[in-house]
Amino acid sequence: MNPLKSIWNFLSSTYHRLGSPREFYTISQYTTPVFGFLFLALSLFGTYFGLFVAPADYQQGDSFRILFVHVPVAWMSLFVYVVMATAGAIGLIWRMKMAFVVTICSAPIGAAFTALALLTGSIWGKPIWGTYWVWDARLTSELILLFLYFGIMAVYYAFEERKTAEKATALLAVVGVVIVPIIHYSVEWWSSLHQGPTVFVEGGPKMPPEMLLPLAFMAVGFMFFYGYALFLSMQAKVLDNERKSRWVKEIVSDKTR
């Protein structure tokens, strides 16, 4: 059997195994620490290069080091939204319980990343623009994305019945992901209307390698953090959802016996 076929079989079999909460729980028990370790390794590496090794920027001085945190977090806020919407779509189309759990558990993490991107962006903007908030296209898009996350979490907690709440949240996530690019372009046009393209050009025309390397490490590191935090909160959610089933009782009792 050619390798491609076997990879595809492996992927589809894990996909189906992940479909059942019990399988997910056993798989996540050994993948979560792996994600945690990779996150630590990559982000420490990125931090060391970003804070110690990378030379100060000729224009912004050392304040540009915030870039190694602001940019990965901003990318993650969008990445988490897309993952949340795809999981929602999978849940709605193929009725996979676990896909809804991914959507529900990713929402708070995505909202945290977005809020973080806003905070670090405005703090970084202080030395450059002199104020904490400027209606810059990217910051405004992040602000709207934060409201979208709040909308999704508000919908989930609005319904009493858990199953309806999950499906409604998934549907809103899918609708949101269609509208996010429209919001992005309308804000882009709107901010150019107010003042010309801002001087706040992220990372300059071409990032020198000693700046690009830590940024890449931090970005990938944060992705693994997302995986780690997501799996942790999904484990808690799965135990809570399947509280009445036998396998949960076994896992809980034998762990502490």
């Binding site: 709605l92 709207i144 609005a158 309806t164 549907l171 609708v175 919001i183 309308s186 046009w189 209307l193």
Partner: protein
């Protein structure tokens, strides 16, 4: 066999004429909100003119949003919504009919009335036309996208607030292009690009939102 869209549009019209309050309330609400601003900015003719477009657009958005809850509420209460869900006729087409009928009772009425409000904001005459065309193109998308929120929250007792949280961020592109047209035409620039953008958003919502509304109803009614 009458087309589903026409059938549901006519049904909504018939129901709206039976209780005309659903036509008048959004209009009165729209006027009151818009007129609050001149009271809060005494004798600032120039300033009023500058913010007039934005104020009228925000009042139109708020008036539409507040009338969204009634779109599915009465059908859900008396069981007709469930009959629609299990009827062989295409639900998305039916929802398109309902949303467009809702637009005629809110968006269209507000747009028809907006020139009068422009006068109170002493917006020059040529810009009244710009605002009118923007509202005409934008308000249907407001009703269509808002219908998704209405469908999602139809089973909730206090769904109104949730609709605002969920739907207002989705209205931002329409608001940006709509209100932006006024400031562009004030500087004498061309507003064609904003009209194209609003028309594009309208086409998108006409084709995509009915499926989202039908999906939302199937998800929440069980």
């Amino acid at each position: 066999m009458k087309n589903t869209l026409v059938l549901y549009f006519q049904r909504e019209w018939q129901l709206m004429f039976r209780n005309t309050s659903s036509m008048i309330q959004p209009l009165v609400f729209f006027i009151i909100i818009a007129l609050l601003f001149p009271f809060s900015l005494p004798a600032e003719g120039a300033l009023l003119q500058k913010i007039g477009g934005g104020v009228i657009w925000v009042s139109a958005v708020l008036a539409t949003m507040l009338s969204l809850e009634s779109m599915f509420h009465s059908d859900y209460q008396d069981g007709t919504l469930e009959q629609m869900l299990i009827h062989p006729r295409s639900l998305p087409l039916a929802m398109l009919g309902k949303a467009l009928a809702h637009w005629t009772s809110t968006g269209l009425v507000l747009t028809a009335f907006s020139p009068i409000l422009c006068i109170t904001f002493n917006i020059p005459n040529e810009q009244i036309w710009v605002l009118f065309s923007g509202l005409m193109l934008g308000t249907p998308s407001l009703s269509l996208i808002g219908a998704i929120g209405a469908a999602l929250t139809v089973t909730l007792r206090r769904g109104g607030v949730l609709i605002a949280i969920v739907i207002l961020p989705l209205y931002i592109p329409i608001l940006i292009f709509g209100a932006g047209m006024l400031s562009q035409s004030a500087q004498g620039l061309e507003v064609a690009s904003q009209l194209y953008a609003l028309a594009a958003i309208l086409m998108l919502s006409l084709t995509l939102t009915p499926f989202a509304i039908a999906g939302a109803l199937r998800v929440t009614i069980n």
